[in-house]
Subunit: 198 residues, 2 copies
DNA sequence: AAGGTCAATGAGTATGTAGTCAATGAGTTG
DNA sequence: CAACTCATTGACTACATACTCATTGACCTT
């Protein structure tokens, strides 16, 4: 009844569509990629897309969810052994670097996406915020960094990152912004948070 | 030949269209507002829009240019008496507050706008950057703020601002983000740049 | 005042793209 | 193997929206 070859085939097509959409979105943007482009790139007919996802909105949301799952897992792995704030931020940077193209698109287009897609992205951000805030809280207690309000601490870091990502066309017209500026941004930010020696 | 009533009327219609578009864009977004919406709100026919602007892209660019002129003028006025970095930033904040809705839309949608519109926005940013960098450079010489690379100094501030503006839906769902957080952001940022007393 | 100009009109066109659905045929089941 | 199921197809529809253009009538020129 269930695990027939036909069913397997369908699941595989669905996964393939998400995989291809992930690439297309990263390359061409989430709002500019058309359903027909995805079908084309996936080597299936246009109609097939709608046999798997009732609307474009559902597809987009599913793709962002898939992205969220991957990036969260990866960030978790990378931050596993991290103790200090710097290590956590370095892990964050490294994790995003591996998904930079898609992540940058999300940063750029987020507000123009359907509601469900937006809230999925917000969820991803929350989980990142949690990690960073925890590491920062600990260092504040220890007195190794300044006692800022936690939201400013997180938002200053993410604001800086997103600014560079959103303006990748200026900062690194072709190539990775994080590759080029990640290290510098990290050092700069850690310098800001740390207690100054006199 | 020139200054006839007919010509005056045409100029007035053109200005009116830009004025109305400015409001519509601020309210509904630059990419989601349709040419017909603008015609409607301006109380003219759809065709009239194209009697003044050959394409939508030209209209959008003209509107952004108008915005740029206004905001630049205003920032110049506000920053006129400012000497220190803090004063310049406060003026920046105040100036943007007066144009917040439109400016936030630009921050959110910039990358999805036509090329000509994007570069107009970049130009506005440059002029702001210049003001801030100059004030910062002076304070660095005087040793009242840390000697950061100037681009990081500017980008940290603008990144923070844009992050709050771009996420206005979360930070201040209805109402002004800068009204609510401007003061706090300014204090926070100035705290970052200043030399710590020990 | 007659004739010409041109800003404005709005119904109409062109185009792009999300979503539909009857047809197909490989896969499944009894 | 016969009957059925269902994933896939792709031509088609529906719809949105930028842009056109023949027409109108107020204004301008002589």
């Amino acid at each position: 009844m269930a695990g027939t070859r036909r069913r397997t085939q369908k699941d595989q097509t669905r996964r393939h569509l998400i995989e291809v959409a992930l690439e297309q979105f990263a390359q061409e943007g989430l709002t500019t990629t058309r359903t027909a482009d995805i079908a084309n790139a996936a080597g299936v007919s246009h109609g097939t897309v709608f046999a798997h996802f009732p609307t474009q909105e559902v597809l987009v949301t599913a793709v962002i969810e898939e992205f969220g799952a991957r990036v969260s897992t990866r960030l978790h792995e990378l931050a596993a052994g991290s103790t200090g704030l710097r290590d956590v931020l370095a892990a964050h940077l490294q994790g995003l670097k591996e998904f930079e193209a898609f992540y940058a698109r999300l940063v750029i287009e987020r507000r123009l996406l359907p509601e469900s897609a937006q809230s999925t992205f917000t969820l991803i951000q929350s989980s990142i915020s949690f990690h960073i805030s925890q590491a920062a809280g600990k260092e504040m207690e220890e007195g190794t960094i300044h006692p800022w309000p936690i939201h400013l601490l997180f938002n200053t870091w993410v604001g800086l990152l997103h600014y560079y990502l959103a303006n990748g066309d200026l900062f690194a017209p072709e190539g990775s912004v994080l590759e080029r500026y990640g290290e510098e941004l990290l050092n700069h930010y850690v310098g800001l948070t740390g207690v100054k020696r006199c």
